[in-house]
Symmetry: C2
Subunit: 479 residues, 2 copies
């Protein structure tokens, strides 16, 4: 009998955790994992298991899992591979529900490793234990404050990530944190001796804390099951997949990495598309789309209104939108008349809307475009005019004036952002903000991110995000 996927609740939200191989020795995996759990833990119990220690980081240690007085829902194993079967036997006797094996040195190193992996997997199966890993870098759940991934603190949020590469999973989380995006759950699936990416996706599909599922995939063990799951889940929440091993050489590299059969179990792009999965090619794309899906409404069509602070941005944004089959419709007289009210006379009077001037006009302009029936979405390119000059640029006699101006500008920007957020909510259309350089990472940008409105590097990146939203919306409109 296949145990229910609900058993994964014990992986992500256990009431008690044993760390088999916990260590006080700085630099060891058993230290990193135990320290991370201990440091961030909420009200669950954590028990270090190490036959050679009385206490670890101030917590009473146990010789074996069997010696722990209370129940143990979940155990993490970070001991050398040859001891794993015996530790698994102890977990079986103790009634542990889920075991995460971080240890490497199994199927991925050859026959001897594969034999050990089969051995502990059999023990677990007979005892009804579900196993995550082996050969992985851990997991986390910000909701229950459980971190076996020694990564430092992760901001809670609606994204969950499954990765068939631990290193690459860590890279994705790091890049997400750089953008200020928050995560709910992460798991590195490793060799998938028992639990597979298909299992995790099924679980996250039901998980109320996960609003968006992201996955780095080298290969599916059961492609059919994945497609069936994806078809149902994408009706409720987006699934974003980065499928690698696309080239023959890449597939070979995947084979020797996690033993994934990217080639034989290939899920063709067309098949993925029919399930509504959003397929991305790069980590930046994954996080661009994911961050947009957090709060931006889906567009009802492909008609994009472009608003820019300068003509060049309009040309680049137009090319980029057309490249993704987005439409740049002409503006109706009504929309043009509406914009005339606050635009300087020299504005472009067309789509792209070149504001040709005062950034303070950008909020009513963006609002006017969001409101217009001519478009389904708005792409704002370098039109918010964030202050980027520094006091040092001015002679002493001007500095006081500039300081006052800068303060007004900063306050003005923050007020502008309130207006922007309010309009996105009011008109229920996506507003994608692009071309924000590092120099412009102001308080205003941070305020937008705090409100889950993220900004994108270039017009091209913004247009691509818009296209993904339009594709997904189009897919959902069929149901």
């Amino acid at each position: 009998m296949e145990p229910s996927i609900k058993q994964l609740d014990y992986l992500f939200s256990p009431r008690s955790v044993a760390v088999i191989g916990a260590s006080g020795g700085f630099g060891k995996w058993g230290f990193g994992v135990f320290n991370s759990i201990l440091k961030y833990k909420s009200d669950f119990e954590v028990y270090p298991v190490n036959p050679g220690a009385k206490e670890i980081l101030g917590v009473k240690a146990y010789k074996g899992v069997m010696d722990i007085p209370g129940k143990v829902d979940f155990a993490v194993i970070v001991i050398p591979p040859e001891y794993v079967p015996s530790a698994m036997r102890d977990c079986a006797s103790k009634g542990v529900k889920v075991v995460l094996v971080i240890t490497a040195g199994f199927r991925e190193i050859g026959e001897d490793g594969a034999r050990l992996e089969t051995e502990f997997t059999q023990i677990a199966k007979q005892a009804g234990i579900r196993v995550a890993g082996p050969n992985c870098n851990g997991h986390f759940n910000t909701g229950s404050s459980l971190f076996t991934l020694g990564f430092g603190e992760v901001k809670p949020g609606p994204l969950s990530l499954i990765s068939q590469s631990g290193n690459f999973g860590g890279f994705i989380i790091g890049q997400g944190m750089d953008r200020g995006v928050g995560f709910s759950k992460y798991v590195s699936s490793g060799n998938e001796a028992d639990l597979t990416i298909e299992d995790y996706i099924e679980y996250l599909g039901e998980d109320p804390e996960t609003k968006i599922i992201c996955a780095y995939v080298e290969g599916f063990k059961d492609g059919r099951r994945f497609l069936n799951l994806a078809r149902e889940i994408t009706k409720k929440k987006p699934i974003i997949i980065m499928k690698v091993g696309r080239s023959r050489e890449g597939a070979n590299a995947a084979m020797s990495h996690t033993g994934s059969l990217s080639g034989s179990a290939v899920i063709h792009d067309a098949a993925l598309k029919q399930t509504g999965v959003i397929q991305v090619r790069k980590v930046d794309e994954m996080l661009d789309v994911a961050s947009a899906l957090i709060r931006q409404p889906l567009p009802r069509g492909r008609r994009v209104g472009i608003v820019t602070g300068g003509g060049g941005f309009g040309v680049v944004a137009t090319d980029a939108c057309r490249n993704f089959d987005l439409e740049i419709p002409p503006l109706s007289e009504e929309t043009i008349n509406g914009l005339n009210r606050w635009m300087p006379a020299r504005w472009s009077h067309a789509n792209p809307v070149d504001m040709a001037g005062d950034p303070y006009g950008s909020i009513p302009t963006l609002g006017g475009m969001l409101k217009s029936d001519d478009v389904d979405a708005v792409l704002a390119v370098s039109c918010l005019g964030f202050t980027s000059q520094s006091l040092e640029d001015f002679p002493p006699e001007i500095r006081e004036g500039f300081e006052k101006y800068q303060k007004q500008m900063t306050e003005g920007e923050l007020t502008m952002m309130d207006g922007l957020i309010e309009r996105v909510d009011r008109y229920r259309k996506p507003l994608i903000i692009a071309s924000v350089s590092g120099r412009e990472r102001s308080k205003a940008i941070a305020k937008l991110a705090d409100n889950d409105i993220y900004t994108y590097r270039s017009p091209e990146d913004g247009a691509r995000v818009m296209a993904y939203l339009a594709d997904y919306s189009d897919y959902l409109s069929k149901f």
Copy 2:
């Protein structure tokens, strides 16, 4: 008679500059330009011209250019359009060599503007004055410390940029500065009433301070001339072009922006390719390639050795390289034996080289791969193991140990970077370093950038840079 292109020396390195329309009024163009020139200027003379002021920012002001006692090589005009012809007449009388007209409101606004533009252009032509602009945002030359672009300080370096959009040019410079890349010259060509992008490219082709020419192009006035120039210049230095107005809608937007005929004067991708021009689609691509060309040697072929800190990165990098027709050759026994000396037993023994462990092994590994006859270039993906954990992640009793460890790691990294730089120079092969997240922007990365070895966001970005280098190398090998 067409005046020699050498006349542009007066645009970039004049001995004296008049600012017609200089102002002490904060927020005005005439203030921004004059303040910027004054603040950064080297030993050239600068004269503010403004009939209503006795002095501006502490410098004696003149009623007209004619009233300036010494010679004037170069004048910047920032007065309303209707006064420009008269100011140009004064410049002609004064013997000014080059005039930059920043003022907008000419050909781009319609017939009246076009008439004014023709008027001042004719005056200039008769006087042998070359004109930059109008309707642009200025220029700079870090070599002569002349900045009409009020942008703050720009790091000197080997890149020069010509942009047919002022706003977009500023965006490119901002993004370059974020990466720590330095610039030699910049010019925003505006309406190109006289000087065109073809002229600037001819000049920069001869300019010893410019090692790499970058250009944002909406359309060429004389495509044939550009192709002939490019064919000669690319033999000496790379030209990187971002050509926009690719879609019909984008071409229309370009037409109404700078009046550029992207459509009719189309330079086809194939034609550009035959001149050795590196054609990019995004600003990130432009700066990725440009920064690599600063110091990295060109590869002699397309065979790439991939070195990674984890298997997932190897799969992604392999896919990305194959996507750009780069080869991932097998490793010879000699190379494998060489790597065996310092690699842990579990390393991949194949290309991609998965180091599967200690980042301290990365320098001899990268050196070994650069030295190997099996490959023409090395792509290093997330294998340098920069420290990213913070002290806060550890309990008090561990912190002292971690602090010592972190200090050693940081010092170790800096020493490693010395080794890396030395090996790139020794083996004369490109080493492209990718997958460096914001969390890892350490002293080591800064040290590399200070030595003109830049790092790239993702394996895909790294592979694309590598492909551009290989394409350019392949092109040059025909001569």
